[in-house]
Amino acid sequence: MAKIIAGVSSSHVPAIGAAIDNHRTEEPYWKRVFSGFEWSKKWMAETKPDVVIAVYNDHASAFSVELIPTFALGCAAEFPPADEGWGPRPVPVVKGHPELASHIAQSVILDEFDLTIVNKMEVDHGLTVPLNLLFGSPKEWPCPVIPLAVNVVQYPPPTGHRCYMLGKAIRKAVESYPEDLRVVIFGTGGMSHQISGPRAGLINSKFDKAFLDNLSKNPQKLVRMPHLEYMREAGAEGIEMVMWLVMRGALDEKVEEVYRFYTVPASNTAVGHIILENKRKAASKTKRTAARAKEAVRRS
């Protein structure tokens, strides 16, 4: 049986991708951002998931205004990086997992989530930046990635509750897949930012920190948060954070927060990142205490 072992959330700021592509990660401004992912890369290398499900949004790259699917699940064998106007990012082609993806599609549609199945799609920085942050810049991505594109560009995006429930349906689908696969789910985007109109540049660290706290300990407090509150408090584009709730819904109600990072800014955006693990049922008490002690050190 396949299972979801952990969830990762991360911002997907395009300038982070540009900093990687232009070899500027050692500059003080960017080092501040990238240093927050050093531990995460080690965690990822040790966790070695068999598959990643990456919840992200497209930014007028694969989808224009001609077609605006609320949830689009990538079932293809591969997803080339999109040309976002400066040529495609020099990152590996994202290899999918068509068998698991189509199994998920079939399962969640019968669970009443009428998502769109995509068999041909290019992926933009929304997907590839988080892959870089968690995997670095390898020649090939170390595991297959199933993209789940969520419309957060045209209002209204799906509600936080809908996203959370889709996460639960995805978990059910994964757990009914016969092969033993260890799956990590990503929720990307955010945190607070507004890049449009006279209010552009808005950042709300207080909101972001409360969001991270609740995501970890009290997700029920977030699932009914109205879109208006996201936009008012975290900026018009901060509404992307509903995607983190797909990730959260796919995890246990109670999780172990193993890592968190937050910094302002990366260009126009507050960068937030969290790693949540499903508690291992077999884990001994001593192991858990040790993990908690480690966590205290990591959370600076």
Binding site: A60, P198, P265
Partner: protein
């Protein structure tokens, strides 16, 4: 026809890209999307007004594009991820557009971001009506209504 009013229209300095704006701004956004191709970028730069004839645009939308009025484009149905492609075609960084939209200089905008960004205090609500409601639901809601400079 007057725009239908929504709760989010109370957020200051914000044009939410909703279904109505998306419908009205289809031509703006499809024009911007066409700029993903180099040949189109060149054709546009060679004769902007002529190139724009290929898209269904109102005279107001056409003028906003030709005059690079980025807030006006958003108001008339453009979406920032699309209009940013016009900025890129002009060779501008996103920060240049952000400075234009916020009525700031690029230097001042960059400085504001480095100092932690624009505060939400005083930037939650046009009318002040939205704030008490937000306060009841979240602990972050505070008095608002005055616009921050």
């Amino acid at each position: 026809m007057r725009r239908e009013q929504h709760d989010y229209d109370d957020i200051p300095g914000t044009f939410v890209f909703d279904a109505e704006r998306s419908r009205q701004g289809y031509g703006i956004n499809m024009f911007c999307m066409s700029l993903m191709k180099d040949a189109n970028r060149k054709a546009f730069k060679a004769n902007e007004a002529e190139y724009l004839k290929k898209f269904p645009l109102t005279p107001e939308q056409r003028d906003a594009i030709l005059n690079r009025q980025y807030n006006r484009m958003l108001e008339l149905g453009g979406n920032i991820y699309f209009t940013a492609k016009l900025g890129a075609t002009d060779g501008h960084s996103f920060q240049h557009l952000a400075a234009l939209m916020t009525g700031s200089t690029q230097e001042a905008y960059a400085k504001m971001m480095l100092e932690g960004g624009r505060s939400v205090e005083g930037n939650r609500s046009r009318t002040g009506k939205g704030a008490p409601k937000a306060k009841a639901k979240s602990k972050t809601g505070k008095k608002s209504g005055s616009k921050r400079g």
